[in-house]
């Protein structure tokens, strides 16, 4: 018995690992029934795999049998791999026992599509219901919405899950049609919109009646595969921005494509996954969500790609030197936030601290500003007077000369020929 469960866990965890989302934040379920588990507002990463990704949830597929044949997916119908399926009881026992030992924050349950969407969704629903109702489990549950499942099932699942997600897979419709002819973005938009409507509706009702149950309290997320199809960074981020706005998503994840098949529509086996590009996309995502940048400022027709050697905030600053230097002691918080080398934490501290006197270079360094980078863009109380105005390219070479890129060793992206 224990041998079989080990085998299943290996197969189904292996198949689920390409789903990037592992966040356990935003849940607010309290342990008020003397059961097991309690959400931690900021989420907890219990360990990290050797590739440096966090492990916060038990991320598994219910089964890797699938009726679809999407070229980018390991579980595609035509792929010759071992197949397995968990029973409801097995998933529940694994989750409970891992949780009791403080291995995980909760469960991330996804599944290949077997038979049809409703049949699959109904199985997922049975797992979460058993956890919540029979085992009194209050930990985090992230559930995949199965595109095409009936609204009643999705609605019921939403009552028990903390977060639901559906993957866009490819950033553009044409990319998706190329690799997965059976799928379309419309299949994703419909359930995303449905869950979003329900979230708003439940929130409204809760304002009037306190006993209305929670519905997907940690919101929705989605994921896009990067580098499998020839989209520009601009396409990707504009799609992400549209989904953030239209569906109030909590997160969009970008997953660098890892070659898994010999299909000639895809990068060949052994190609390095585009890790730097993925990192730059996440940086852009953060700039959009926390730094008040509009996606058009960072990526537009003149600059459809992000720079690989410098981060997007720096490259925006170098393109827009007319906004600098910024005087740290008088500039608005939003303006300070746009200076390369100053993050949210430092910007907040600066705004509070300058009420007590003009800030000097040594104080900025101690506060946590990365001064070597920021010094080209700011003025403070004891900035040396400088007559010469540097060009953007000069500043870039100064910064690159004194920084050690952690990516240079692994940077193998192909050059454009024409």
């Amino acid at each position: 018995m224990s041998e079989r469960i080990r085998e299943k866990l290996n197969i189904l965890a292996d198949a689920a690992k390409y789903d990037v989302s592992c966040s356990s934040s935003g849940g607010n379920r309290k342990n008020d029934n003397k059961g097991l588990g309690d959400s931690h507002a900021s989420g907890i990463c219990h360990t990290y795999t050797e590739d440096g990704r966090c492990v916060s949830l038990l991320k598994i597929l219910l089964t890797n049998h699938c009726i679809f044949d999407c070229a980018y997916c390991v579980s595609r119908k035509s792929n010759d791999i071992e197949r397995a399926a968990f029973t409801v009881e097995e998933v529940v026992q694994l989750t409970m026992n891992f949780y009791r030992r403080n291995f995980i924050e909760g469960l991330f349950l996804s599944s290949g599509i077997f038979k049809n969407a409703d049949f699959t969704m109904e199985r997922l629903l049975r797992v979460v219901k058993k956890l919540r109702l029979e085992e009194r489990f209050n930990g985090y549950i992230h559930l995949k919405t199965i595109p095409g499942a009936s609204e009643e099932l999705i609605r019921e699942a939403g009552m028990y899950a903390d977060r639901m997600s559906i993957n866009l897979e490819m950033p553009t419709e044409s990319g998706l049609k190329l690799l997965a002819p059976d799928k379309s973005h419309q299949d994703v938009i419909k359930p995303l919109g449905f869950v979003q409507n329900q979230i708003v509706q439940f929130k409204e009702e809760r304002k009037l009646i306190k006993s209305v149950p929670k519905f997907v309290p940690a919101g929705q997320s989605t994921q896009m595969v990067i580098g499998a199809t020839p989209e520009t960074d601009k396409d990707i981020m504009h799609t992400a921005d549209a989904y953030y706005r239209n569906f109030s998503l909590k997160r969009v994840y970008y997953s660098g494509y890892i070659p898994i098949s010999n299909d000639n529509r895809l990068p060949i086996l052994g190609t390095q996954p585009p890790l730097v590009r993925e990192n730059r996309l996440y940086q852009t995502d953060w700039l959009m969500r926390f730094y008040g940048f509009h996606v058009n400022e960072l990526l537009n027709d003149a600059n459809p790609h992000l720079d690989i050697d410098i981060d997007p905030k720096l490259s925006w600053a170098l393109r827009n030197l007319q906004h600098f230097p910024v005087d740290i002691n008088v500039a608005a918080y939003k303006v300070i936030l746009r200076v390369p080398g100053i993050g949210v934490g430092s910007a907040k501290k600066i705004v509070q601290a300058r009420k007590f006197g003009k800030l000097r270079i040594d104080q900025l360094k101690k506060i946590g500003v990365s001064y070597n980078r920021a010094k080209h863009f700011i003025k403070c109380a004891d900035t040396p007077y400088q007559l010469k105005d540097f060009q953007g390219t000069q500043i870039k070479s100064f910064i690159l000369a004194e920084s050690q890129s952690k990516y240079l060793k692994t940077d193998t992206s192909q050059l454009i020929l024409f």
């Binding site: 224990s2 342990n31 440096g52 009791r100 890790l275 009420k355």
Partner: protein, 254 residues
């Protein structure tokens, strides 16, 4: 410069602040009794603990500081660092002689140091919440031994009580030799006389429940399966899970 010696307790620290305001000796140096070395040319002042004085200072601080800063103050105390005691002392004096809101002056070295140490302690607390691995023992208690850099047990107590409300557990600080025991109703402080103090119990010790081995193996398997070898990034891995914590982690045991 005068030297104040206190017993290392929170109460003692607050009393030192009280004494300073009674005498106003100018710049002083505050040291805990445990590490104090007598000096030839200064006579130290030993601070006597007086709950009433401590209470007054604590009330004063609570009047001056918002909740988040009170938490930072307490966290900094739990760091048990010598520079933390000095920073707390200087910080309190600075607060009491300045108008309200002075704690936001990050240009002041004590304010900055306090907020930085508090962050370190909160980080250690968060790491404990993440890296503690319970083992189910034969008598039904979930056990874990830890030796955190800072004294974080008081900070993690509520988290574990709320989360594991339906199982008995012990978290034991083997460095400071005390632990917390939850008996399904309340959390108590306990002391155990260990012969040796491992963070994880060995499966050969016959103190573990019979299913424990299976779940440890399943967890190790899962940890291996979740890894994507094509993305290997050891530097990032070690940055997130520093090596000194590996002894806690089931998945890192051979």
């Amino acid at each position: 410069m005068e030297i104040y010696i206190f017993d290392g307790s929170f109460e003692g620290l607050l009393c030192a602040v009280f004494e300073w305001f009674e005498r106003k000796p100018g710049k002083i140096c505050l040291k805990p009794e445990a590490t104090f070395q007598p000096e030839a040319f200064t006579t130290p002042l030993f601070i006597h603990n007086d709950p009433k004085k401590a209470e007054r200072v604590w009330k004063g601080l609570q009047g001056k500081l918002a909740k988040d800063w009170i938490r930072r103050f307490y966290c900094t105390y739990l760091s048990e660092l010598e520079e933390a005691y000095t920073a707390l002392f200087e910080f309190s004096c600075y607060l009491f002689v300045n108008p309200p809101g002075a704690e936001k002056n990050y240009g002041n070295p004590d304010v900055l140091l306090l907020s930085q140490i508090a962050r370190k302690v909160e980080r250690e607390k968060h790491r404990m919440e993440a890296f503690i691995r319970f083992q189910h023992t034969a008598d039904g208690i979930f056990y874990c031994g830890i030796d955190p850099d800072f004294n974080v047990l008081p900070l993690i107590m509520n988290h574990f009580r709320n989360r594991y409300a339906d199982q008995q557990w012990i978290i034991y600080d083997i460095k400071r030799n005390y632990g917390l025991f939850y008996d399904l109703d309340k959390v108590e402080e306990i002391n155990i006389d260990f012969k040796e103090r491992p963070t994880l119990l060995q499966s050969s010790a016959h103190v573990l429940s019979e299913k424990e081995g299976l779940y440890a193996v399943l967890w190790k398997d899962y940890f291996k399966s979740a890894n994507i070898p094509a993305r290997k990034n050891t530097k990032l891995h070690v940055q997130h899970v520093p090596k000194r914590y590996w002894k806690y982690l089931t998945e890192k045991q051979v």
